[in-house]
């Protein structure tokens, strides 16, 4: 039986089309539809319920040492209120999950993980922890809203004091007050657009949701569902666990080397991740033929050798052409390489392009 987020009633009332996702009942889209919602985030603003995401806290004098050991990134130089993307890997180098680590205090961190992996992650962390650290799953107490799009800052300014708004991307204010409610206000997101993620008490979620939608109305803010969340992250080439990432793929194969700090003395998976030479790599594909290439399509070279498979694919509402991400043999990962995807018995041609497919033009002051 799927769980409901604190905003379930608001989704039903707002005309959301509800589907089960990662153990939760969430809207895949509202009446406006995926394309309208996608474009709202690229040009104005969109509001997402992402309360299904998992929140796990690390507290105690060995909290940092535990994160250093379990994760591929390095957190030793983080300031309070900073966020950092990382992988958590197995000894084999395969990815347990990709996640975000927030530093709250010297001995206190918040880790945000994928809903579908939350229980597995918690179990993994519990099995690998050492020393003085308390690891707690606080997912059920926390709701998360994502306000995304170029007008997000103006909307949040309407209901927040200036000092509570993080100035830089991947920074947050832990004790912010938004619309009279306490929350963590984080300048992060999963859309490739400027925006905020708000972590707040589950009991405040509905009030915050309604407030943001009413204040945001004049800025073009609309509620958005999982469909647009997926097309937006794909256009921005952000990986999704279960697609681009899983326990058989290493961070370097997934082309996420920026989140692996090889100069770190040790972490789980280091040996396999850093020493095994790459034979395949995640790439971006632009469809040059006719049709949409979705996940699990086999890819063939011009001489009909099987060279890989797609991990995600869709039609991009903003770019107005279909794209896909794929895992291909290293020799076929170079920009401009053409290949053939097999889709329901038809052949569709695609070409390797640089990632991300879409990159926003940053306004001054966000990074």
């Amino acid at each position: 039986m799927e769980k409901k987020t604190p905003l379930y009633d608001a989704h039903v009332l707002g005309g959301g089309k509800i589907v089960p996702f990662a153990g939760y009942l969430l809207p895949v889209q509202y009446q406006s539809g995926v394309i309208t919602e996608h474009m709202a985030v690229r040009t104005k603003a969109g509001l997402f319920d992402v309360s299904h995401m998992g929140e796990i806290t690390f507290e105690g004098k060995d909290a940092l040492a535990n994160l250093q050991r379990m994760m591929t990134n390095d957190f030793t130089d983080m300031e309070k209120g900073q966020a950092r993307y990382s992988m958590m890997c197995m000894e084999t180098g395969g990815i347990v999950d990709d996640l975000i680590v927030y530093k709250k205090e010297e001995d206190s961190y918040l880790v945000v993980v994928n809903a579908s992996n939350k229980d597995k992650d918690f179990q993994w962390m519990y099995e690998h922890h050492f020393g003085e650290v308390e690891i707690k799953d606080i997912t059920d107490e926390i709701a998360q809203l994502a306000l995304q799009g170029p007008n997000s800052l103006e909307i949040i300014q309407k209901i927040t004091k200036e000092k509570d708004i993080p100035k830089k991307y991947y920074h947050c204010i832990f004790d912010a007050e938004v619309g009279g409610m306490k929350c963590i206000l984080s300048r992060t997101g999963y859309t490739g657009e400027d925006g905020f993620e708000l972590y707040l008490k589950a009991s405040d979620a509905r009030t915050m949701w309604d407030l943001l939608l009413s204040v945001g109305k004049e800025y073009g803010l609309i509620p958005c569902g999982l469909g647009a969340r997926d097309t937006l992250r794909l256009e921005a080439a952000m990986p999704l666990y279960g697609h681009e990432l899983d326990e058989t793929i290493t961070p370097l194969e997934a082309d996420l080397g920026f989140a692996v700090k090889q100069n770190k003395s040790d972490y789980i998976g280091k040996k396999k991740i850093e020493e095994v030479s790459l034979i395949r790599k995640r790439v971006g594909l632009k469809v040059v033929g006719n049709g949409i290439i979705r996940e699990h399509a086999k890819l063939f070279s011009k001489d009909e050798a099987e060279i890989g498979y797609t991990t995600s694919g869709t039609y991009c509402p903003y770019l107005e052409y279909p794209i896909a991400m794929a895992m291909v043999e290293l020799g076929y990962s170079i920009q401009g390489t053409r290949m053939i995807a097999e889709v329901r018995g038809r052949k569709i041609e695609a070409e390797v392009v640089s990632l991300p497919f879409y990159k926003r033009i940053r306004k001054g002051g966000t990074k």
């Binding site: 539809g33 995926v34 394309i35 469909g227 997926d230 097309t231 869709t314 039609y315």
Partner: protein, 128 residues
């Protein structure tokens, strides 16, 4: 939602329109387009193709998923609405004008419903 009285409908949500002497037009119902969401791609058969009642003859893709379109009759495709390939969104905006193919030499037919029967069918499906 609209279900014009002059059309017949299938359980797989296609509409059928009799044009003249043994030729029909096929498209997707208003209900189908709403369920599928914004359509961005259409794959159609070619003129001269033989089609079979109850089997797929085309597919449509929304941003999120591909859906198959089933043929209400057996026969030969005598015209293809190629404009649809450039404007798949017209299926969303005007589903009863967005015909996919015209079929002639009809040799067999699926069970077809009147508008009234189809509306009742959708209601019963939604209550399941």
């Amino acid at each position: 939602m609209q279900f014009p009285e002059n059309l017949k409908y299938t359980k797989t949500h296609e509409w059928v329109k009799e044009i003249t002497g043994g030729t029909i037009e096929v498209g997707l119902s208003d209900y189908a387009q709403k369920e599928m969401g914004d359509l961005v791609f259409v794959n159609l058969p070619q003129e001269g193709d033989g089609v079979t009642a109850g089997e797929t003859f085309a597919d449509v893709e929304s941003v999120k998923a591909v859906s198959e379109v089933y043929c209400p009759v057996s026969g030969i495709v005598c015209a293809v609405n190629e404009e649809l390939m450039d404007t798949p969104e017209s299926i969303n905006s005007a589903p009863y004008e967005a015909w996919f193919v015209r079929i002639e030499q009809i040799s067999g037919t699926e069970d077809l419903m009147s508008a009234e029967e189809y509306e009742a069918f959708i209601e019963s499906e939604n209550q399941k």
